[in-house]
């Protein structure tokens, strides 16, 4: 056991030795240690380098407020976590961590030259230089800045760990399991309702864990704690959640809780998810988040060995570690005395207590005297020395405003400090509760709540343990008061922004934000340069923007700024607290939404067949659709040529199940469709279909699809694949809010029906044997007809429609029969060389016919006129959604992009989709573009390429030559009609 371990103190288990490594060196610690406590037990103070000046830095705090001691936590190459606080890492056997931000080593860091040159790097220096020569910014300066910046190592491999998330509800959520939080939880447990008590630490108890000599209701604190926790643990309505950080407090009492499940376990014992995000709604929230001790600001306050007094006290009382053998104390607050006395009582030499106040409570003086501790009131610390650890401090007497330049140098191996306490109002502020300034404690405390929340204990500025516990109990509806010896003085002059010094303040480095290397003079410089808002000062100096988010630095920075501005603190304001409270793993926030669960992949009931038959898929909206079915090493081009030809020559089979489908039912169904679609519906006969065009109220094409009338009061509406949810929502919106009087109802039936499209001259022959009760002859069942019938004995809806220009049928059967029917038809179709085809051929075939695809040939700015679809507009209809917009001046003006066909002069040239079109080829950049190619394919059927395009005034330009400038050539093409194949539609009626 090292000389710094005090085996009689602390909650660590001296019988359980633990071996761990830091920077490759092996040390011994104890079960219950954090990395910080174990390193200190081994006499190691130097653990990191600061962000900007690469100054040697030690351990400053004992909890999540730590700003200096950041390490890379190493659980294997893919499990290195940068920037972890040594003070919150729980030790286990085989634990490994490395120091950061140094090269070649922590002890000898080349970049520490920055510290020597720090005069040239004041706040905002980068705004003032690196501008010449201009080209150097990208090539020289910025890469150099980036290389030296950053803290921890960047990740190298994909994280193999799992994360989890859930939703939780409770009546009472208590954040912070210190004395106030536990008192609240006990009262809440009695009251009933679900209670959740969370604490960021591995062990519940908060400040009680560092206060073994405290008595509560006559019991030693640790006994009381154990009993209370046992009681809570046994209560059915209470959930205790250690290692859980309330990261943010959002609208309507919704909080995110990040629970760390495995980082404290040896690697081989870690099972299940690494972290879990609990998304919690609480009826009431009790915040018992405590307070954070403030450092003092003086020259050399960042040296390893300089730390918060409460941290030294915690290391001793909770971890059994002496942070030094000869410790100096500098304080402006009473609380540091208790720390000093605890240390002294553990036989650690207290070199001196320096109190910057002239007057100190008599009890403290007496207690110091009793222990023989030298107490210097009305003194200041003006310097510290020691390269990698503090070796001495210089103290000077303060007379009024004057500091006696004659200093006295005292040796020590640690310096502990206290500048008062800052209530942790982070979550309260996330919830938009207001704050008020309290001069007596020089801090902001909660004022008015915005949610059903209450702050109790130190986070409310109530520092006595007894008062805090009573407040906690009361907040949870209890009335228990606690018998607690609470007479220890607790006042302090937190209002001094910087310890007085005789030295030139523009030359000394007195740190405010330790991690970001922001000094008091940086803040003064910012004010001098006109940065007068605290948000400006924060951004200009970066104070409070380090990974601790200013937990220890915000108020010191604020007070220095206020003093420089000559204004009281409340008038300077406070920067906004932003979630999360402590840094939170992306993986936890992503929760279960990884891999297959990242987003929905919708598959049709026939998808499995396509997969088994080698389909190449493409995502379309949330669906995945078979794009083509390559055979024997075919590429897409070859497969598409084959599938298309087979369909036109004989028979193709296509899975159209993804098309959106809506059943529109009710006596007003036709009237409703009249209003929603451009086309007229009243006269559409039962058993007939019509193509429908839907506009947004802005007049642009929104969706299209075939609509069949099954009965007077029943329509089967189809939509585009991606548009289905939008179309249904759009319809519901109008129906519910504009026309609630209409007797019509909408039901999504997309998933009810599997849809198998059969196209080609042999389509009828194939299906005839399977269809019952329908005369499939063209006279009885013409193009654009629909029947309810049975197919293979199953209730089906049979459409005679065609998106290919060939004789076509679409068989709708209930989805769970989809695959079976497909297989039946496929087997029967062998005699016709039936060929499955995918979306790519579907696109080619329809383009040969000049049918548009909404979203490809239209882009949200295309009207029916632009698309050449005036025929789809019911001329006699007084109104439909979008009609009025079609009459706006710029919609009817000349120069609109209109849909045309293109034929390239060289028939082999296939234009690129998205290629731009110009009228005259010899232009310089920027060219005047008149349109673009929307669809373009090689047509195997026609033996030449075809394209659709939107071209300005294109409808009047048939026969004209246009040009498509490509990077390496100028392609000529002629504007033609949009129908390339079978202009008379004869193929639809083959027998």
């Amino acid at each position: 056991m090292s000389q710094y371990r005090r085996t009689k103190k602390g909650r660590v288990d001296s019988r359980q030795q633990i071996s761990f490594s830091f920077d490759g060196k092996t040390y011994q610690g104890l079960k219950g240690d954090t990395l910080a406590s174990a390193l200190l037990a081994n006499g190691v103070h130097l653990v990191g380098r600061s962000f900007k000046y690469h100054r040697p830095r030690g351990i400053m705090a004992a909890g999540s407020d730590e700003a200096n001691a950041l390490v890379a936590f190493d659980r294997g190459e893919a499990r290195v976590t940068p920037n972890m606080r040594a003070t919150t890492l729980e030790l286990y056997d085989g634990f490994k961590a490395q120091s950061q931000n140094n090269w070649p080593s922590l002890n000898f860091d080349v970049t520490a030259i920055n510290d020597r040159l720090s005069a040239f790097f004041p706040a905002g220096f980068y705004n003032k230089t690196f501008m010449w020569p201009k080209s150097f910014w990208d090539k020289v300066y910025e890469p150099a800045i980036r290389a030296t910046a950053g803290l921890g190592p960047a990740p190298k491999a994909a994280d193999p760990d799992k994360y989890d998330a859930n939703y939780t509800h409770c009546e009472t959520l208590i954040v912070g399991a210190g004395p106030a939080g536990i008192a609240a939880a006990r009262a809440a447990a009695k009251k009933g309702g679900r209670v959740i008590l969370v604490d960021e630490q591995g062990e519940l108890g908060g400040s009680l864990l560092s206060a073994p000599d405290q008595k509560i209701d006559g019991q030693p604190a640790w006994d009381w704690l154990a009993e209370s926790l046992a009681e809570l643990d046994a209560a059915e309505n209470v959930t205790l959640m250690p290692r859980t950080t309330a990261i943010g407090y959002y609208h309507d009492n919704f909080l995110g809780l990040a629970e760390r499940l495995t980082d404290h376990l040896p690697e081989d014992a870690a099972e299940g998810p690494r972290e879990r995000l609990h998304r919690v709604w609480a009826q009431e929230v009790i915040l018992a988040t405590g307070a954070i001790e403030r450092p003092l600001v003086f020259a050399g306050n960042d040296r390893p060995g300089v730390m918060l007094a409460s941290a030294a006290q915690t290391f001793l009382n909770r971890y059994g570690v002496a942070v030094g053998e000869k410790i100096a104390v500098v304080t402006g607050h009473d609380s540091a005395y208790k720390a000093a006395f605890d240390l002294s009582d553990a036989d650690i030499e207290i070199a001196v207590i320096v109190d910057c106040r002239a007057q100190v409570d008599q009890k403290l003086i007496a207690e110091a005297e009793k222990r023989g501790i030298s107490l210097r009131t009305g003194h200041t610390v003006t310097a510290t020395k020691g390269r990698h650890r503090v070796k001495s401090i210089t103290i000077n007497k303060v007379n009024g405003d004057q500091v006696d330049p004659a200093g006295e140098t005292l040796e020590c191996d640690a310096l502990i400090m206290s500048g008062g306490w800052t209530p942790s109002v982070h979550l309260w502020s996330h919830s938009k509760g207001s704050l008020q300034w309290r001069d007596d404690i020089a801090a902001y405390v909660p004022d008015k709540p915005n949610e059903n929340a209450i702050c109790v204990g130190a986070c409310n500025g109530d520092f006595g343990i007894g008062a805090a516990m009573a407040a906690g109990a009361k907040a949870a509806g209890g009335d228990h008061t606690f018998d607690v010896d609470d007479t220890w003085p607790w006042t302090g002059a937190g209002t001094l922004e910087i310890l007085p010094t005789h030295r030139d303040e523009s030359r000394i480095k007195a740190f405010v934000d330790f991690q970001n290397d922001v000094t008091a003079k940086d803040i003064r410089l910012a004010v001098r340069e006109g940065f007068k808002s605290i948000e400006h000062i924060k951004r200009y100096t970066t104070t409070g923007m380090a990974t601790d988010q200013g937990k220890t630095s915000n108020l010191n920075g604020l007070q220095i700024a206020a003093s420089a501005l000559g204004r009281p603190v409340p008038q300077v304001g406070l920067t906004t607290f932003r979630p999360p409270y402590t840094p939170t793993t992306y993986g936890a926030l992503a929760g279960n939404n990884g891999g297959a669960a990242f987003d929905v992949v919708r598959k049709t009931s026939i998808d499995g067949w396509a997969e088994e038959h080698g389909a190449v898929f493409e995502p379309v909206g949330l669906w995945r659709r078979a794009r083509y079915f390559p055979r024997d090493g075919e590429d897409m081009h070859q497969a598409v040529a084959r599938e298309g030809k087979a369909t036109r020559d004989s028979l193709g089979i296509f899975d159209a199940s993804t098309l959106g489908k809506i059943e529109v039912v009710g006596p007003d169904a036709a009237e409703f469709l009249n209003r929603m679609y451009t086309n007229p519906w009243t006269k559409l006969g039962v058993g007939r279909c019509r193509y429908g065009l839907m506009l947004g109220e802005d007049g642009y094409i929104m969706d299209d699809g075939v609509i069949g009338r099954l009965a007077d009061d029943r329509f089967h509406v189809t939509t585009t694949t991606g548009g289905a949810p939008r179309v249904l929502a759009h319809m519901e919106d109008y129906l519910q809010t504009e026309w609630p009087d209409l007797d019509v109802w909408l039901t999504s039936i997309t998933e009810q029906w599997a849809v198998i499209a059969l196209n080609g001259p042999n389509a009828r022959k194939l299906i005839e044997p399977f269809v019952e009760g329908v005369d499939l002859s063209s006279d009885a069942f013409p193009h654009m007809a629909v029947r309810e019938c049975k197919v293979c004995g199953i209730d089906a809806r049979l459409f005679r429609v065609s998106f290919s220009g060939e004789l076509g049928f679409e068989i709708n059967v209930p989805a769970h029969y989809g695959r079976a029917l497909w297989e039946t038809l496929y087997a029967a179709g062998q005699q016709y060389d039936i060929t499955p085809y995918g979306t790519e051929v579907m696109h080619v075939l329809r383009a040969e016919k000049g049918f548009i695809i909404v979203g490809q040939d239209t882009d949200g700015t295309v009207t029916p006129y632009d698309a050449g679809m005036s025929w789809a507009i019911g001329k006699k209809k007084k109104d439909f959604v979008g009609k009025r917009s079609l009459a706006r001046p710029d919609i009817v003006a000349e120069g609109r992009k209109q849909l045309v066909g293109l034929m390239t002069k060289n028939p082999k040239t296939v234009l690129e989709e998205g290629a731009q079109i110009v009228m005259t080829p010899n232009q310089s950049i920027p060219m005047e573009m008149v349109g673009h190619v929307t669809s373009s394919y090689w047509s195997e059927t026609l033996g030449h390429s075809i394209a659709l395009a939107l071209v300005a005034d294109g409808h009047d330009l048939k026969g004209q030559t246009i040009y498509v400038p490509m990077p390496d050539e100028m392609i000529e093409a002629e504007i033609v009609d949009t129908i390339f194949y079978d202009k008379q539609g004869e193929q639809l009626n083959v027998f």
Binding site: D164, N166, Y167, G595, V600, W623, E751, Q752, A820
Partner: protein, 191 residues
């Protein structure tokens, strides 16, 4: 040539398979696929509900979020004018016949039997599993036995119904089922 082209010839396949990861031995829940059912979406104006119930003999629950189970069907009231009727697969015509008895006002009955598949989650851990992706409060006070509702499960819409204290019935559109299973599976492995 296909003489057996009758109702017996096509195999029915709900297309959903519950992975092994959801059958871990020490799970505090059990997940099962509900077999084939008839399902209807019924829409009747609020003003006609009682007349409809009387005429059809279908006992429609009238409070949103409540269910009624009788010998014919399980009926969930999802909205003041919307019900999901779940019946045995062979009861399809029965339900149609019953609703056809109502003639005094328009309504809408649409067959959605294959639109959904359904799971049951049973066991002590069932509620926690639902809360992996569903944000509702499943405490018995907030979500009592018999309650049903449409809600959300991460990115999928579901209908959640609680037939018993430790049992949930989840209806989901068939193509969203694998996604729901993926999230449940991630959650199950994390329990």
């Amino acid at each position: 040539m296909f003489s057996d082209a009758d109702s017996g010839s096509l195999k029915l396949d709900q297309g959903v398979h519950i992975g092994d990861c959801l059958r871990l031995p020490d799970q505090r829940f059990d997940l099962n696929l509900v077999d084939e059912r008839s399902r209807f979406c019924l829409r009747v104006r609020e003003t006609h509900v009682s007349a409809f119930a009387k005429a059809s003999g279908l006992a429609l629950p009238t409070q949103v979020g409540t269910t009624r189970q009788d010998e014919n069907a399980l009926i969930m009231c999802l909205s003041p004018d919307e019900w999901l009727i779940i019946a045995a697969s062979e009861s399809k015509d029965l339900i149609k016949r019953k609703t056809d008895q109502f003639k005094s006002a328009p309504f809408s009955l649409v067959d959605v039997s294959h639109r959904n598949v359904a799971f049951t989650l049973r066991g002590e851990g069932a509620a926690a599993m639902v809360n992996v992706g569903c944000p509702l409060d499943l405490d018995l006070k907030a979500f009592p036995v018999g309650k049903c509702t449409r809600t959300i499960f991460e990115r999928a819409e579901i209908i959640l119904y609680r037939p018993a204290e430790t049992e949930f019935h989840i209806e989901v559109w068939r193509s969203f089922a694998p996604y729901v299973l993926s999230v449940l599976s991630n959650g199950a492995q994390a329990q």
